[in-house]
Amino acid sequence: MLTKRIIPCLDVKDGRVVKGVAFVNLRDAGDPVHVSKIYDQEGADELCFLDITASHENRDTILDVVVRTAEQVFMPLTVGGGIRTIEDIRRLLEAGADKVSINTAAVQNPEFVKAAANRFGSQCIVVAIDAKALSSCEGEANGWGVFTHGGRKETGLDAVAWAKKMMEYGAGEILLTSMDKDGTKDGYALSLTAAISEAVTIPVIASGGAGTLHHLYEALSLGKADAVLAASIFHYRTYTIDQAKTYLAEHGVPVRQRQFCSPVS
């Protein structure tokens, strides 16, 4: 049976791992290749790098990180952050990424997603959606909007409709981040995640808000997510991937338990 995936995410800036708390107060915390190997040994199902390098001249540092990681870690790797052109995608895939995650560029030019999926195949095109709950002037819940620029810029797009459109344009997967929950550690946005997951027929990765192992369980059950992405709970060693898998298995979520199979014997 297909298992639910646990995906640790590393925020990478200038080739080094950082973790933003709601995208500010970044703290330097290590070598991405080293951290990736630890997650690999613990049985992570995939890895995700989010490149938050700001300066243009340092943009290529991520390529080096991807090359070095792909030499040592044999599981799927998604890279996101600042991807704007077909050439950006080609270079990342060539460096060893398996998937790329496109966010702002998709909002600015949806045709880019179509072109990327046609060129490289849907299986490697992830569309990242940053969503926030909207409320009417009376304060009633009014669906979810798509935001860019770390949640600061409203696009006017409805998150559910946008997810469906991106699927039609060839996205192979949706990486859904709740900007209300990101950095809070008080759980994933379950109704948002379930709404998106039910609206599309491609896999949905839930992101934003993981603070406990029960939060992972909620996103994969109530939230109907196919995978969960988390950064700080793994990065700061609050929990290991093993502990997360054990907890989920005990609660009836199908997960891949770590297998001991050494090929180099």
């Binding site: 297909l2 298992t3 599981m75 799927p76 199979c261």
Partner: protein
């Protein structure tokens, strides 16, 4: 030397690195002479079936593939490289495949037998049940997890060719084995230790 056929369809670096990590020499190449000289041949591939066939044609790689099969070199097909070995695919219209193995490539079901909807692509870690112990699966047991990402599956014309099966809506042939050909829908190069074992076994296959 293992030749990994490069026809501009996807990331081949991880296949090469996977072989290197387990001690096999592998090159990524579209040079016909190099492929002809290789002891083992790998046909990887991601993307669309029709594009892949077009690229194989354009780079003159179809004859070297037939030759490797004729010479009975150990041959590994991965993902689309598995599907291409069959007669035809229904992906975006009907496309002719290499026709090395009898069978067809069909779309994955979007609902299971209970009527529950299934996410497509079939993406992530799923188990294999071993129907025949092909040499590349030495030391691997039924229930091992491997990584999949695909929207189409192979229906071999001869059931006895099926090497492993995997459940996703239906039970499908997640790998086949015939003679010196082993081909899998899953990605050994993305399947951590289990996958590296398969690559190691394949390189040791004589």
């Amino acid at each position: 030397m293992i030749a990994i056929i490069d026809y501009d369809m996807g990331n081949l670096r991880s296949v090469q690195k996977g072989f290197e990590v387990v001690g096999h020499r592998a090159v990524v190449t579209r040079d016909i002479e190099t492929i002809n000289q290789a002891s083992h041949v790998v046909l990887p591939g991601v993307g669309a079936f029709g594009d892949c066939m077009n690229n194989l044609n354009r780079y003159g790689l179809i004859d070297p593939i037939y030759r490797a099969i004729r010479d009975e070199k150990p041959f590994l097909g991965i993902c689309l490289g598995y599907q291409l070995l069959f007669e035809e695919s229904e992906e975006f219209g009907v496309h002719k495949g290499l026709g090395i193995l009898p069978g067809k490539v069909k779309a994955m079901l979007t609902v299971d037998a209970q009527g529950a909807s299934l996410k497509i692509p079939h993406m992530g870690w799923n188990t294999i049940q071993i129907a025949q112990p092909a040499p590349p699966l030495n030391g691997i047991d039924s229930g091992a997890f491997v990584y999949f990402v695909h929207s189409f599956y192979v229906e071999p014309a001869q059931a006895e060719m099926t090497c492993t099966t995997t459940e996703y809506g239906i039970s499908f042939a997640s790998s086949v084995w015939q003679g010196k050909v082993f081909a899998s829908q899953f990605h050994p190069e993305k399947s951590q230790g289990i996958g590296l074992s398969i690559l190691k076994n394949f390189g040791n296959w004589r």
